[in-house]
Symmetry: C2
Subunit: 209 residues, 2 copies
């Protein structure tokens, strides 16, 4: 299936039917998030894959009681790093060396550029930067879910502080950015299943220069 057709097929399911998404599809969706490009390649996020129903029951009231949180089979929580430091940069440099077989010295200029970013940006700017990268991974997961014919409902409206508390994200140097329940649409109970997609016209959305 082309992404074109997959994006026609997908919609933000408001109700899901509880059917379990097979592991190979979950893995394909996670892999797309893993392969998403990020600023300098740092991937400043952690993705929680929550299958535990009790935990999803606890999250549901923190996300306006949206039924997909528990009617899905897996809930992804995308969390951005809040504590980017030189340690992260060093770990990343080590990974580049191990993967590409290049010398540490050959990465000096790149490391210096990253350390400049780490040291010169405000804490708020770094969290925003990390959240932006998280959005890219989140979007790639969304696109792959559509290709896998798995329903996925992007969620930004939830109690960030409460979910951070519940998952002990602060202690882990993380903060929640988006939620993504994965499951299957409930054709009988979701009035949005058959509705036409509404999108701004090309003439309004694009300006050609």
């Amino acid at each position: 299936m082309s992404l074109h057709d997959a994006l026609e097929w997908r919609y933000a399911a408001k109700r899901m039917n509880g059917q379990k998404v097979p592991l190979h599809k979950i893995n394909a969706i996670l892999r797309a998030a893993q392969y998403a490009p990020t600023s300098m390649g740092l991937q400043p996020f952690t993705i929680f894959v929550i299958e535990n129903k009790e935990l999803r029951e606890q999250i549901k009231p923190l996300a306006y009681n949206q039924p997909q949180v528990t009617e899905s089979s897996h809930l992804l929580v995308f969390a951005a790093w809040t504590d980017l430091t030189g340690v992260h940069v060093d770990e990343y440099i080590d990974e580049i060396v191990a993967t590409r077989g290049v010398s540490v010295e050959s990465l000096d200029a790149f490391k210096k550029a990253m350390m400049g970013f780490v040291n010169n940006q405000t804490a708020e700017a770094k969290i925003q930067w990390a959240a932006n990268q998280t959005y890219i991974a989140f979007s790639f997961a969304l696109a792959e879910a559509a290709l896998q014919q798995v329903d996925a409902t992007p969620m930004e409206g939830f109690n960030i502080a409460a979910i951070d508390d519940l998952l002990q994200l602060k202690e882990k140097g993380l903060t929640s950015v988006t939620l993504l329940p994965l499951g299957y649409r409930d054709e009988e109970n979701d009035m949005f299943v058959k509705m036409k997609k509404v999108r701004r016209a090309k003439e309004k959305l694009f300006i050609h220069l």
Copy 2:
């Protein structure tokens, strides 16, 4: 080609060869951005499609002289709305009515929720919200570019104020968020062409609960 294979194939090309991307591929990439899901469906962004070489020459120094700005054949500039108002909400409601053939009254609760967002959020929060939605569209364009075997280099590092001035974005209620040159990798001059992809291991990136 699967997205899996496309993401293996793609990389952030540092040099491009000037070859022109055919229109049908540009249109497929733009369509993916158009079909990206957004918060409440509002699509609070405008995408500039810049083929004009002179204009790209003017943009290049504002983006750290990265050669892909002019070695690509098209430069996409993703710009977020800075001025979300009730007018946007009304236009959107009109589009839903026209597309789905529902009554305006049936959308009252939805409109009220959107107006609550418009009226209760700070200007800064609304711009950040719009920028987040822009990232989703940007990411969908990136994914489709890979599927079309078109090279695309995500760029966040550029002089936002200068590009906003050049494209007169402020007057249009917009601010630039990301750049995306579209073209073809220069196999001879880009040392990154043959390098292995570096990604954090699954065990570090994902936490299963």
